[in-house]
Amino acid sequence: MEAIRHSAAVAKREWKAYFHSPVAYIFIIIFLALAGFFTFSVGSFYEAGQADLRVFFFWHPWLYLILVPAVAMRLWAEERRMGTMELLFTLSVTPMQAIAGKMAAAWGFLCLALALTFPIPLTAGWLGNPDWGVVASGYLSSALLAGAYLAVGLFTSALTRNQVISFVLAVVGGLFLILAGYEPVTTLLSQWAPRWLVDGVAAAGFMTHFQAMQRGVLDLRNFVYFASVIGFMLFLTQLVLNNRSGR
């Protein structure tokens, strides 16, 4: 009960912090503009003549790669730089409660930005007859993907008091998780590595899971995958914070 109250208070504070600064608005505008640009211009949404959102979701891993670390970099690095971490952790808030609160606020914010892309599925619905189940599954996978990137960013943010370092590390971490399942990488790997290793690396990557869900496959394994990535990164974050704050 107290834990939930603490997390909720932290989440509320973080949520407000996003909207108190221009960060939230700039992020949402750029995210929507880029999502639209990739879908309609680069992805040739109209020309494809298909009422689905494949070209829309196709670009999300790459959009998130840059944008999510920008949302996450502040979360701990700023607390560290300003010394407010000391304040927070002496108000009887535990690192786990604070992590949960920050994660919830930032993820909620990313989901809000994602939800604001609703005109795109509406367009598809107006022009044709998309499979709404696949659309929903696509949105769900995109939200999970954003959460996984965010967990990586939260971890790198806890490592440093410098937001730029946090950002760069998060991008590198995210890039690794994308490329691990990317075809050129798996092909390259399969030339010399044993099959189990290729499969292992591919399974650790975002892409296979994300693409499976894009096709509307709601396999439990994909949920377990994203939940494990998020859980593991948050666990590492807690280790780092325990070590620094010394608890």
Binding site: A9, R13, K16, E86, L87, T90, S92, G246, R247
Partner: protein, 317 residues
Amino acid sequence: MIKVEHLVKRFGLRKAVDDISFEVEKGTVLGFLGPNGAGKTTTIRMMAGYLPATSGRIWVNGIDVNEDPVRAQRQIGYMPENTPLYDEMTAGGFLEFVAEIRGFRGAERSRRVDEVLDSCMLGSVRHQPIETLSKGYRRRTCLAQTLIHDPPVLLLDEPTEGLDPNQKQVVRDMIERMAKDKIIMLSTHVLEEVEAVCSRAMIISEGRLKADGAPAELKKRSASYNVLTVEVLAPAEEAAKVFGAIPDVERVEPVTEAGGKQVLRLIPKDRQSLAVGVIEAAARHKWMVVGMRSDSGRLDEVFRQITTTDDVIRRSA
């Protein structure tokens, strides 16, 4: 009650805090003194449950801080060094946030926030972002944060650092008002502050506890304690000779002489009180004593004696 037993904190090879033990009773305002880097902040951080002790134990009202920091922290209001605050929040919003974490909701929360805004005189800046506040308001906002849950223990790390004299007085007045039913421990290197508000002072140097007692008691260790300045109407040489003959007087230093009035400084042996002896001696010679002042000692002297000896020895070695 606070109890600290054989507290040690090591950072790598360096011992920041080296075997400190003490107890503090309710109603005490404890001044924690020491030069920069002596281990004050480290000690307070450990007491606040932010840093774990390398060894030793800390109890706050019977709760072991290392074992259960969260429960201990409910008993503590802690003001970290350099007043870290969430700059983008308003002063009022920040206090609401703290009140929420401290477990107050609804009307009770508003009442608590109003109360501390009022007692810390922050009402006028309630809706102002913290980043726009002056240093004095920042300090008071951080102090207000410690009071929301009316904790029995306050740990304040340099609460008046960087304030102007009026603001310092405001903070001291607040401390004095709260003193009787709390334990207040404040670190500082402003000695006048200790004399002004503290009922007890501890001096640490290089991680070790070097002195512990009431400020008035500590001052007795100073070299100038009980040095007597006498203004007497008497012939110069004779006065020095007579006073110098008093058994407890170590030596006599003439200060000024004008129109038959001598001003003399009498340095006592072993910091003995000299007043009675001097008055008797003057009476015997029918000299008029027009002024007399006994030095009550100076805390800064004691502080320097205790905290610089090691340095000085090392430098000359």
